[in-house]
């Protein structure tokens, strides 16, 4: 029996959904869920992952009684869900499924208005609410008059989310909602969901078999193994740093370390003043040979590219990808490897150069990050209310909730000399 106990400490301390010794055996004899005890706190995304047949979808569907457990109890907001009429219960829980499950015979607007109509809001109020939601999920009013098959896959999925949100349910169940769209659109939809979640702060149970999606979205990840066993339930960083067993480690994949890096942002990595690297305005004459690489900036001090007068023919500057505090360590490492100086250009929200950071500094933070994740468990959760966490994540997944151990002040001294050769070393 695995208990996702730390979940209790997140959110507002309120438990939204509680599985207690839940068991599900189907009539054909297969056990879909084995003795599950799991707690989902209010406000936060809990991702249920596992390969097919591991019981994650059955677990999800038991919450709105699409499947009834063989034994055990499930409580929603403290109340046993079996005490309520199934239809009434479902109207209070948003549900999004793969390929959206939209009604092909109803316009997009009427699809979204389904639950409000069931709740007896009346046609006008329901449609008005639907129109409002159309905007919330980033669709035009024109799209509302269409039929689902006239929309793209990504748009249909947005409608599916809007429909689930229509009656403003506190709980949202999502069953591989983005499974059927292409990777680019999937990432858009994931960002959109995080943005919405920051605004709405729902309690979300999200099923996927895509571990990257789980890491991107989850405040907590519950890993299931075939036969319906919950193996581990932990925040993504902890899961990546300390998988409970080989099964979880295998499931997380070989690039576990990289995923951890993708969870950490640059925010805590010190910025070295731009004076440590020579900058040259793009309208100035090119630098003399032998003067080392230069960062070319615009009149507004926006990084434009690296220029090395010693690198043979005077070509155009090699490209630079300016990084913000919200970008991940992984992106920073990639950029530092691409950069001829081993330095990355840091910019503020407006794209104006704030300074540079060396590859070493990034490495240092990555190492700290790893140790931290391995060490920190319960304590980390306590300091981070789910709302704050979501906000950070939307800003591109700040991983750790604890205060940075290092101040930016120690960064300057450790940065290598400008134009110096890039330090070697690996991640």
């Amino acid at each position: 029996m695995t208990i996702c106990s730390q979940a209790r400490d997140a959110g507002k301390g309120l438990l939204m959904i509680k599985f207690d010794a839940v068991h599900k055996r189907f009539p054909n004899g297969t056990t879909a869920v084995h003795d599950l005890t799991l707690e989902l706190p209010e406000g936060g995304i809990t991702v249920l992952v596992g390969s097919s047949g591991c019981g994650k979808t059955t677990t999800l569907r038991m919450i709105n009684r699409m499947v009834d457990p063989t034994s055990g109890t499930i409580r929603l907001g403290g109340k046993d869900i079996r005490e309520q009429d199934a239809a009434e219960l479902r109207r209070g829980i948003g549900y999004v499924i793969q390929q959206s499950g939209l009604f092909p015979h109803r316009t997009v607007l009427d699809n979204i208005a389904t639950v409000p109509l069931l709740l007896g809001w009346g046609r006008r109020k329901s449609r008005a609410r639907a129109a409002e939601l159309l905007e919330t999920v980033g669709l035009t009013a024109e799209a509302g008059r269409r039929y689902p098959h006239q929309l793209s896959g990504g748009q249909q999925q947005r409608v599916g989310v809007a429909r689930a949100l229509a009656a403003d349910p506190p709980v949202l169940l999502m069953d591989e909602p983005f499974g059927a769209v292409d990777p680019v659109v999937r990432i858009q939809l994931q960002d959109e969901l995080l943005r919405l979640q920051q605004e709405l702060n729902k309690t979300i149970a999200f099923v996927t078999h895509d571990i990257d999606e789980a890491v991107r979205l989850g405040d907590r990840i519950a890993v299931f193994r075939t036969g319906g066993h919950l193996v581990q339930c932990a925040p993504p960083a902890e899961l990546l740093a300390r998988p409970a067993d080989d099964f979880v480690a295998d499931f997380l994949g070989a690039e576990r370390e990289l995923k951890l890096l993708s969870l950490t942002t640059l925010a805590d990595v010190p910025v070295q003043p731009a004076t440590t690297v020579r900058t040259v305005r793009d309208d100035a004459p090119p630098p003399r040979p032998g003067s080392g690489p230069h960062l070319v900036v615009s009149a507004r001090n926006e990084p434009l590219g690296w220029l090395d007068p010693d690198a043979g023919a005077a070509g155009p500057p090699s490209p630079v990808r300016p990084l913000r505090d919200t970008d991940s360590l992984l992106a920073a490492l990639n950029e530092s490897i691409a950069s001829p100086t081993g330095l990355i250009a840091r910019v503020d929200g407006a794209g104006v150069l704030t300074g540079v950071t060396s590859r070493e500094a990034i490495h240092e933070q990555a190492g700290r990050r790893h140790q931290q994740a391995a060490r920190t468990q319960l304590t980390a959760q306590k300091t981070a209310p789910a709302t704050q966490k979501t906000a950070q994540k939307t800003a591109q997944k700040t991983a750790m909730e604890t205060a940075p151990e290092n101040g930016p002040e120690n960064g300057l001294d450790t940065t290598p000399a400008p134009g110096g050769s890039a330090p070697g070393g690996s991640i």
């Binding site: 709105n64 699409m66 199934a86 239809a87 009434e88 219960l89 479902r90 109207r91 209070g92 549900y95 499924i97 793969q98 390929q99 959206s100 499950g101 939209l102 009604f103 092909p104 015979h105 109803r106 389904t114 639950v115 069931l118 799209a143 269409r146 039929y147 098959h149 006239q150 929309l151 793209s152 748009q155 429909r163 169940l173």
Partner: protein, 218 residues
Amino acid sequence: MTVDWSWLSAHAGDLTTLTLSHLQAALTAVLLGLLISLPLAVLAHRVRPLRGLLLGMSNVLFTIPSIAVFVLLLPVSGLTRTTTVIGLTIYTLVVLLRNTVEGLDSVPAKAREAAVAMGTRPLRTLLTVELPLALPVIMAGVRIATVMSISLVSVATYIGDGGLGQLFTDGFQRDFPTPVVAGIVLTLLLALVADALLVTVQYVLTPWTRRPRTSGRG
């Protein structure tokens, strides 16, 4: 073999009466068939064991020759319009039952599941999600049943009814082709008009199946 136009104009009134009577028999049968097959189809769709039984029974009914059905009904309802309508109804049942079950089968499982998951109760799910989505297939059945009924009414001429079919016996007995030609043409016209009307009804009832006017991609 030539058509005697003067006979036609002289009997325009009779032809109209027969056409209307023909249409009435066929339409009543289709409506009755729908009333009976809808609940049966829902039952057959929900309860697996009943499905084979009901569809099998309706298949056997289909193998009985139409003339035999009418004759077999004689002891029950005699030489009346009722016999005609019951006989035709039995025939429509085969097509309507099968198509309605297939129509319900064709409803995307995801749509049904979404309805249930959002808290729609079974009856409402049936009426607002399943039946509308099954409509294209059901309507295909209604069209076949209607055309078939219109064609079959003539058979009831052996039991003294038969609408336009009476023109065939009349022409046969008097060795006079004009009423036969008139009967065939009017039957075909009736079927054509009824079918066109049903297509229109379907078009109006299922706006989501129409091709989008603007490009579908967004």
